[in-house]
Symmetry: D2
């Protein structure tokens, strides 16, 4: 049995003020609230069928709890657990339903500390009947969506004290493919852009500036249709006093982006569009070196990042 | 004193079910409700400062009451009244405030029956403070706008039993300029596209199929940014069981369009973008003849009109 | 070994006037000419690395020669050949290089007559050096591209005298997945929308109106970015007297489309955008029934198809 | 007779390397060459009827020669000349045809040194027949246009050692209206945004950092349709090693922008979209004060200006 991770499922974030972070992720960004329990809220984007792609939990301070990945088949979860046991990697089982909507899962730590979760099944709750699209292949009727609501989770970017080690582990143990990577002049692998699903970037691992840095989330990216939509979302951020860190186009991935931060938790979200699919079975990773992209300091092709604060937890 | 009409101001429509028409124009289309009285509601688009660009009044049946035009200066209202008196044209004075938000005005009938109104001043009420944009040159903060809300009234198209006569009168008496016109093979002037403001089409007068037809409104057009927005608006119409009459690009005016109809009153609205400005002081009207545009039967350049029901009142 | 088809590779079309069809596919549409030999020309889109996604060959009349699919691994080609031999399906081997740029391949007939080709490897020629993008992950520099040049081949739609039988065979023998399907009121499977790559529609098989119809191509679809680009392409078609069959949005697939036809060969191309990815490992085919989509006769959600001529060869 | 300037007509720029600047303005940006003589080339945008909106002349160094404005009527040229004579302002007559395509004109200096030209008539040469659009209201067929070709000249921004004085003179003597203005904390009028045509900004006068600065051009703006087009143009600039100074949205005017510079002459062009029309006869200038726009240092609402080099001639 070939074990496969099918896709990025969800990101579990913590915040020191749940209501205020809900106001950002739901009220401003336009993610839909699917479920709540005492300390947590579960959200999905308007074109997502699964129960959640983001959860927010009240905690002492802002941090990431775990990153959830869905396996190609439910039985792969136990099979991965067996493999990790063979490798001496600690695994924690999470029972069916402990995370609302989600089947049984395992959690484990990738090198340098990020917590990953693998699960096989997740419920697909219908939206409220009055919000269900008349199209059988669309979840929410756009009539009442937030004007800037992104469609689907696209990818996650994390900072790691040894990004190369972390990315290599994920490639080897989880079978992710490398779609692009970027090396600095001294040979340091600044960033590795990995695909779980095989056709697009699902996870970017970038190098922390200091080896003492705790693992952290750079941004969670949600997809929109066009660069026009990035301007629309930026407008809404400005109107709502949400800090924005730039608009433009990445060289790596070619995706157009707009970065905004939850004013409470500082968790950063990317509105993302463009990019490309790698359906090519012979795809070779795109190897960038420093200065390959004109505006080299921030690796952007168009526009740039004004103020990329590292989130320290 | 050169009398001038500055711009299209508002269209006063009647409907047999006010609440239901409000649901369409406000709830679905995204015009903002500025004012209400017993039988009427006054709406404007999200980028309009003036009190209203559309009014809806409950009446026995669907019809248009009048079309409001703002003069270049307030004093032009009385001056036009004097001129019309000289010409033997009946004028009715409307006192300041009778139409909410509007200064004193005159109403009169153009050939074949459409009621026009000229006024000089209209209030510019602020939006609710929580919805005011942080930009000094934008009215509503887009955060809470309807996702498809158009920006501004753009133009009006009317059917007339003798379109040529009607358009000529408007040109001569009101000083509108002809931006484009379209002649059928037998020499009939099918449509005249007039500019009050001098830089874009404000009023299209098109020929009714029968000389016995009552004057009627073909559509009221509101502007959006891009053809993408036309698709977004069409999606919302379909989700809400609103009849849609086409999407595409006109040959005349070059404007891209999407037509939808209030299910209750059948009043048609055009979502409109594209077109061009005629800042050229030597602009000569564009003279179309039948078959000049490839898809000649409906004068469209791209796409077309599926089902253009004439509204009979 | 699990045999897999990785993706739609190319479509081999024949035309009675090669130069004139080149003028359409290259000159008007903006596909790039990569290679020519005596009777054929090989084209790719501006964001494609592989040698060709379309070939045109001069022949007595317009027809489709074959549809090329790339296997997940080169060795799958021979493995598929073995499997087909076991099933009693005739296979013809095509030597490396017989089709320019392509490794060894097999051709065979799917039920009712379409010719399929499976190959594992294709050359990735660089564009002319002066046209290579400065971005390492982009093929052509957009500076000199045709203004409407689509990016990549997206999918193919074929007519089949027994569409259900054909689609079932492809699903069972080639491992394609069903993403959506559409049944008429009498239970006839009008259309099956299949994925080779697993994440999007690559092949639509639709029912011919007559069981005597020869298999035929409905359209070859190439991707663009936005509905705006569909209007831009439609404009260019109209300016060049290219017949256009509609603009709008499909209900099935949710893709926005514009259809145009090579005036010489009548081969139809779709400019296509929108749609969605099915990364979900538990995706269930979307089952449409007649009248599920409002504008039922042509299965469109927005706009529609004006004149969908069946191409008879 | 009320003397009126109808619109911005053209900007006459000088460059030390004509061929190289043609390569930028024609080859990269996509302005069309209409005419050439010994030292000069005359260009227009693809949706312009008049002979030119930009001229380039070979000279010792990069500078602006004059800014051409078209009067509402040809007779206004002489009337303005008379008025200036009364005011003691020197006027130079330019004979019909001296500037190719242009009728007789006057040139004069506005306070602090910019040279203005007023003319009443300009030829409207047809494009080459094979490039004429089939639409009677469109000049060039987009089939062969440069993929990023802007449509029309939109406005001009100039630096002036005493911007307030300059803008006031233009308002009083030429009848321009103020659409917006921006005052710094110390009361200095940083910028005045003026309208000649009455419905949109045609000229921005901004304060030089030093009173000794020679008058200079900040940028010439040409219009495109959408922010997507700004990204497309920026891509082309990057591919061609053209320096780019930013992409985003201005707070003042609300226009989205992308700035690029001719690598030879350093003349800056703005690709521009968005903004709004002021058809309102009671429009009051929008009064900005420092810090009214969030990103106050460069007055931008979205994105910003990376590197706004002052061009010293």
């Amino acid at each position: 049995m070939q074990l496969e991770v099918a896709r990025l499922g969800h990101v579990a974030l913590e915040t020191s003020d749940l209501e205020s972070s809900i106001e950002f992720f739901h009220g401003t960004v336009g993610l839909e609230i699917v479920d709540r329990d005492d300390d947590s809220v579960y959200l999905r984007a308007v074109d997502e069928y699964d129960h959640h792609s983001l959860s927010l939990t009240e905690a002492e301070r802002s941090r990431i709890d775990h990153i959830g990945w869905q396996t190609e088949a439910p039985k792969h979860v136990a099979a991965f657990a067996d493999r990790f046991a063979d490798r001496g990697i600690d695994v924690t089982w999470i029972d069916d339903g402990v995370e609302p909507g989600q089947g049984e899962a395992i959690r484990f730590e990738v090198p340098n500390g990020h917590q990953f979760e693998l699960y096989g099944e997740m419920e697909k709750p219908d939206p409220p009947v009055e919000r269900r699209s008349k199209l059988k292949n669309r979840v929410y009727d756009p009539s009442d969506n937030n004007p800037i609501a992104p469609h689907r989770i696209d990818h996650l970017q994390i900072w790691d004290p040894d990004g190369f080690e972390c990315a290599e582990w994920i490639r080897e143990e989880l079978g992710f493919q490398v779609q692009e990577y970027y090396d600095e002049a001294d040979g340091t692998r600044w960033g590795t852009f990995l695909s779980a699903c095989g056709v697009k970037i699902d996870l970017a691992v970038v190098q922390s500036s200091s080896a003492d840095d705790e693992p952290a989330v750079h941004h969670v990216a949600y997809g929109v249709d066009t660069p026009n939509d990035l301007f629309a979302a930026h407008n809404v951020m400005n109107e709502n006093d949400v800090p924005v860190d730039g608009i433009g186009q990445h060289g790596i991935s070619r995706g157009e982006f707009m970065y905004a931060r939850d004013p409470t938790s500082s968790h950063r979200i990317e509105f993302n569009t463009g990019s490309y699919l790698t359906l090519d079975p012979h795809w070779e990773p795109v190897a960038w070196e420093e200065n390959d992209i004109s505006d080299g300091d921030d690796h952007q092709w168009i526009g740039g990042i004004d103020n990329l604060e590292r989130v320290y937890y």
